[in-house]
């Protein structure tokens, strides 16, 4: 398993049944929890099983993910979801997923579903170095196909940034999830080459359901868009990429 990144499975038949790739869940520890995290944290649904289980790819970062890393078998957490707008794709157009780091999560779910639906889909996955790369065998078993892996230092897969794996092709729909810098680069690339792009964005969240307006991102028209209900997946063209 990749360093400080792990796979977490939770039983939640309702969420498993209703989830679509790109949607997320809020995971919290309830009002009885006295320590951090107070607020629930958003995680992309990374897989679901017919048996009513969802899988999440979690990378340890701060208090929320640290707390998740200490979950023991059988422990309960609060789950709210599935939330937000999924990625849109269809058999009529080939799809390339571009994942940076833990942004891989939604695509683990999407690639499998899309393939089963007969969509022509491929997955590019970049990490800084080999230690961070999520188990390729596990990726293949979840997706039903291999990912094209890139690492900046070349320690695993190809050497370079994941975008180098992308070939210009206006007929292809690009789906992106990862660090902001990567999404910016992806936007430039797809705009230059006239390709459609959807991205999953990340912003701090409060409620996860549209009440608090904490999670907004700037739209192309200057308005604020709630990433929890109008996103997290947006058409890149609808967002403001100027800052």
């Amino acid at each position: 398993m990749a360093e400080e990144t792990w796979w977490l499975e939770l039983d939640s038949p309702e969420i498993a049944q209703a989830s679509q790739p790109g949607q997320f869940v809020m995971i919290g520890f309830g009002c009885g929890n006295t320590g951090a995290p107070l607020l629930p944290r958003p995680f992309s649904v990374g897989w679901r099983s017919d048996a009513g289980r969802i899988g999440l790819l979690v990378r340890e970062f701060g208090s929320g993910t640290t707390r998740l890393s200490r979950l023991h078998r059988g422990e309960e957490v609060l789950l709210l979801g599935p939330l937000g707008q999924p990625f849109r794709f269809g058999v009529e157009q080939p799809v390339i997923c571009v994942a940076g780091g833990v942004g891989l999560a939604p695509f683990l779910f999407l690639v499998g579903e899309a393939r089963r639906a007969g969509v022509d889909v491929s997955l590019l996955y970049g990490e800084r170095d080999a230690r961070r790369v999520f188990d390729p065998a596990m990726i293949e078993s979840l997706c039903g196909t291999e990912a094209e892996i890139w690492t900046e230092d070349g320690g695993a897969g190809r050497a370079g940034r994941v975008l180098e794996g992308l070939t210009p092709d206006p007929g292809v729909a690009v789906l992106g999830c990862g660090p902001t810098a990567m999404l910016h680069a992806l936007f430039q690339f797809t705009r230059t080459h006239g390709m459609q792009l959807q991205v999953s964005v990340e912003e701090h969240m409060g409620c996860g359901v549209g009440t608090c307006q904490g999670c907004v991102v700037r739209g192309a028209d200057g308005s604020w868009r709630k990433s929890c209900t109008e996103g997290p997946v947006f058409d890149a063209a609808d967002l403001d990429w100027t800052r």
Partner: protein
Amino acid sequence: MADSILAQTIFGLTFQGPVLLASGTCGYGQEYADLIPLDELGGLVTKAVSLEPRPGNPTHRIAETPGGMINSIGLANVGLARFRAEKLPWLRDHLRRAQVLVNVVGDSMDDFAAVVSGLDEEDGVAGYEINVSCPNVEGGTLYGTDEQALSELVARIRRETERPLIIKLTPNVPDICLYARVCEDAGADGLSTINTFPGMLIDVERRRPVIGNASGGVSGPSILPMGVYLTWKAAGAVSVPIIGIGGIKSTADALQYILAGASLIQIGTALFVDPAVAADVTRGIEEFVRRQAEPDLAALVGSLQMTSA
């Protein structure tokens, strides 16, 4: 019947239970409709409504603090016209027993008055909670910290409506009793205590504030003792009813406010932690009233004893 033991008539309105959802944490109700049995609660307070729409502050707007959170939403709201046209009809249709209070903000007395008079003919608005205590916008606490201005503002709004007028106070004053009395004297029907504390978090690696607007308002469990204290002080200073707010996430927390003198309480941040908390606390308070063999909830309000055991 389960409700009757909790029912109270406050500000001339019937509240079937003491728990309301706090302004800014429940949107305009609809967003929580699937998760919270809204019409079984005491009520809800809408996100602030201003005369004109407000886009709100830059991002990040939210961050976690030790035992709480900072928000700097910046009173982002759809404005009076769209609130009336798009949000109020839903509330009117779906909240028939729960009371809807509209949280009102403005840059000037005229602004506040215009929002209130613009809603005063509308059904579905039970009363107004006047927000003179938002730390997230320039001048947001202006009226809340100047006795003279506050008095004029309350008197001015009072002329616009006969509906319950509740003033939401800032904790950020040396003596909340002064402001509480000013509101009562100027004709307010009640007080909400408290709004958030100004706070700031810094990302030390980047040497920048975490919050886009640099600072924001601190809410959540960490402010509970301050809220209980200020509610207790305010309750001792005025005879109008008080809505206790700040850090409530359990029955015991809510009861602290009630014993300190709050007739009603609001839950904000804890809704994000668990939307079920509002119903849970309502149930918990009911159990407490029964266990303590009190006739009803009203008997608990302000029943704190000060002599030692």
